[in-house]
Point group: C2
Chain length 117, copies 2
């Protein structure tokens, strides 16, 4: 198998993740959560930062959670959300994981699998 990828994933799961990410609010939300680190952010705090209505944010966070890109847990009044880093990192690998598998002779320095990463 010409597939150097560590993190595995099915097409369906990846499509779902991408659909979940493919929205400005959700993209911004993920980045805020990634920046916040493992502790995450309370929903209300995130809503303020993104300047979206609380109920709208819930809508988007649910999509991200359904795709496995964020997790939440309640702490008293607050519901904290945090990014699931592994799930995010799995995306690119899936996309380019099979790079040049049908044309290995032409897999040069511009190809992902020959990068030093």
């Amino acid at each position: 198998m010409a597939h150097g990828c560590g993190r595995q994933n099915s097409d369906d799961i990846v499509a779902r993740k991408l659909t979940a990410l493919a929205h400005p609010v959700r993209l911004a939300a993920i980045r805020q959560l990634a920046a916040a680190g493992p502790t995450g952010l309370a929903a209300g705090r995130l809503a303020e930062r993104l300047d979206v209505a609380p109920n709208a944010l819930t809508f988007h966070l649910q999509k991200l959670a359904a795709a496995g890109l964020v997790e939440s847990h309640r702490e008293g009044q607050f519901v904290y959300y945090r990014a699931v880093f592994d799930a995010l990192l799995a995306l690119t690998d899936h996309l380019v994981g099979a790079c040049c598998s049908e044309a290995e002779e032409s897999c040069g320095p511009r190809c992902p699998t020959s990068r030093d990463r």
Copy 2:
């Protein structure tokens, strides 16, 4: 700047890329093109492999091209499409590039920027 990412990108561009990728046919198309390597594939050949109508494929390839994820060039009768690897690789970096920038003390082994990649 607590941002260790090499490939740069704006939120808008990334959102557009993700929207473009967030469809089963387009996801499958990108992977076929990635596997085909730098030469790419003729549109008709790709349509056969994906089992979609030629006009439907054009619709999807245009979205991918508009997002900068694929390029095309005509060779006689054929129009070849190929994946733009750099654009694909830029995605994950953008998503997690600012990981823990607000909580560096908690950026442990499960965080992207502390990985050996």
